[in-house]
Each structure stands twice: as structure tokens, then as C-alpha cells.
Amino acid sequence: MELFLVFLSAVLVNNFVLVRFLGICPFMGVSKQVETSLGMGLATTFVMVVASTVSWLIQHFILEPFGLPYLQYVAFILVIASMVQLVEMFLHKTSPTLYRSMGIFLPLITTNCAILGMALILVMRAFTFSQSLIFGIGAGVGFTLALVLLAGIREELEFADVPAPLRGAGIAFIIAGLLSLAFSGFSGLVS
């Protein structure tokens, strides 16, 4: 039950994009098509899941025993960067179309603050290993959910009569703000 609450909290209540405002760059950049945003979400989820477990292991078996907590950022970025490289190679091999449609945003997952933020939060909250894993999955699912939601709305907007000054980024930012407002409604769900 506690694990489920950790999951729900990461997906809805403390959604990384819409409530914590982390990872806004791919949120705006790769949310024009549902398919691409889903691919981006899955790639980020994979990196998040691996990063959450590996960061936990590094934190508890290397950084804390050797008294190196000040190397937290370096170590976590190392993990994230390696995982992103792996995902990039994998995607280039298996789905060149998705690889091309994600473009520069794929290597930029490395600098996605949602992932580093997740690794730092799970250390701060003193999660256990299984909690960290669930937290990573939840964070990834929440990120994917936010991306796909915005992409779905933006796809519909293609046919809408948007006032000229708001076309493109303007209306996307307004929609993102409304989504964020909607997600604040979840705040009482898990304390």
C-alpha cells in the first residue's frame, strides 16, 4: 500500500512536470504529436527507472560508505548520461523514424532536470530500494502522462481557430498552465 502511495504521489500529486515544474523543455518541445511524445515519454521513463535504482545503489554503497556525498551530482549525472547514450543507440538501431522525430531532444534527456531532480529527491526522502524503483517508475509515467496530455490537446488545436497572436507557442503555454491548474486538484489525494 505504501508503495502504491509513492507511485500515485509521483504520477499525480507531485507530477514532475505539472506540479514540480521540472523538465519543461521537452514538455514544450516534443509535445506536437502524440506518437513522438509517447516515444519521448517512454525513453525518459526508461532512463528514470534505471537512474533511480542505480542512483540508490551508488548513494548507499559508494557515496555514503566512503563519505563522498558531495559527489552526488557528479555521480548521478554520470549515470543519467550513460543511460541516455544507451537509449540513443538503442533507438537509432530499432526505430530510426522515432530517432529522427525526437531529434536534439533525445540527447537532451541528459540535461532533463526532472531526472536529476528525481534522483536527488529519492535520496532526500530516504527511500528504500523498492520505494526508489517505484518512485522512478511513477516519475516516468507522470512525465509521459503530462507529455501525451499536452500533445493530444495540441493535435486537436491544429484544427481550431486560434487567434493569430496566440498561435504556436503562445497557446501551448496557456494550455500547459491550465493542465497544471487541473493537476493541483490532486493535491489532497495523498498527504
Binding site: I58, F66, L71, A75, L78, S82, Q85, M89, K93
Partner: protein, 276 residues
Amino acid sequence: MSSTLVAIFSMGFLGAVFAGGLVLASQKFAVDVDPTVDALERVLPGINCGACGFAGCRSFAEGLAEKKAPPNGCPIGGNDVTTKIGGILGMDTGSANNRKVAQVLCKGGHTEASIRAEYNGPMDCRVANLTQGGDKGCTSGCLGLGTCVESCFFEAMAMNDNGLPLIDEDMCTACGKCVAVCPRDIIVLAGEEYGVHIRCRSEALGKEVRKVCTVGCIACRKCEKECPVDAITVVNNVAAIDYDKCIVCRKCVSVCPVNTIEAQDGKPIVKQKKVG
């Protein structure tokens, strides 16, 4: 000291583990890249201007390898690059000259065109065009504020004393930036070998054109009748030339009563009166 060593070794160890993992992964997920794409990319200019319609030189090279892009698709590289691409792909690109240059289709400078208002806004044609159509009497002519000159990446354009842009045909790469930036759509890309240009795009009636410009097309149709290959047609009160049909006989130039049609006689105009 020892903590520094511990830090170095632990981070070095982590780095080595991840690097080893990535080496293994890169072998497992190695993607075979078509060697012709690399070869094609090397002969391209490599400035990623996008004038070919692809995202950059790399994607143009990929398009070439997949036969989706024409070998003469790179306007910057010109004939040189086309020949090299043909060599790599084993295609005969021929010796046809397909180099294009930009042409300004307006002759109404300060001395020819009348001014109907005083424009004091930002010196940008796009702004002037949105501000009640600028200061010129003619609403189709060149606004003369030099936005195309500023847009030119290759310093092939300059404004002359008469307030019209001049194009140095040797420097022009037909990248199309000036064509896109001109709010009046009076810049076109034409093959280098075509020396006859109808330099007016005004769709107003001949009478109205005469009021605002001494060199504007009045749609008298003399050129249309004179042309032996039917390359000139008058549509919407303005003569237009079909460069594909034109044989550069220059007969239309002499019959034009208002001197709208201009022949370059094989000599780029910029060569005669270079500015700046």
C-alpha cells in the same frame, strides 16, 4: 589526501564501468551507415543553410543516397558540387547550367516612382509594408529599405543610389533568403543564362500605374504580341515572362513603351555600376 584518492578512484571506477557498458552496447547496437552518405556529405558545402529544402547537408546527403533529392538540389554548391555528386552516385548530370540568381522585379526607384507619404518608422520593409503599405505611391513596388540586403548571407546585395537593391550575380547563391524576406514578393530566382526580365509586378490598371511610376508595366500587350515563342503573357494587368520558354531574343525589350523590360546583354548590371 586519502579522501581525495577515494573520490578519484570511486568516480573513476564508476566511469570505467559505464564506459565499458557503453562500448559493449555500441557494438551490439551498431548502425550500418551507407558509406555513400558520408562521401556525399564531404562534397557538400557543409554550412547547413537549408536552401535545398532538407534540414541540413547531412539530411540532403541522405536524400541523395535514397534518390529522393535531385543531384542539382544544392544551390550553394552550384555546378561544381552537382558534378561531384553525379560522380559519387554514378549519374550523368550533364553540362547544363542550372545556376540560378535572384532578380528584383521592380525598376521604380527614387527618380521613377512617386512618394505619397512620409515614412518615419523602423527601416524595415516588412514593417513599412504593414504600416499602410509604406511611403511609395505604388503598392506593389520595392519599398527600398534594404531588408533583402540585410538578409543576404553572402553579401551579394547592396542598395544603389536610386533606392533599389542591386544583386551581384557572381556572389549570389540563390539561397532564397531575400525572396522569402521581401514583403512585396518582387524578388524571384531565375536561371543565370536568362538576361531578359520584366521588372514590374504591379497589378493596377495601366492608368493607375502611370500616376505613380514612370517605368511600371501598363499591360499594353506589345511584348506579348512580339514574343516569337509565347513566353510572355499578360495576366492581371501585368506582363509575366516564362523563363523556361524565353530564348533571350530581346525583341520585347525594344517594343516596351515604358522600358519595364530589361535586357542585361550577358553583363550583370552590378558590374557596370557597383555600389559600396
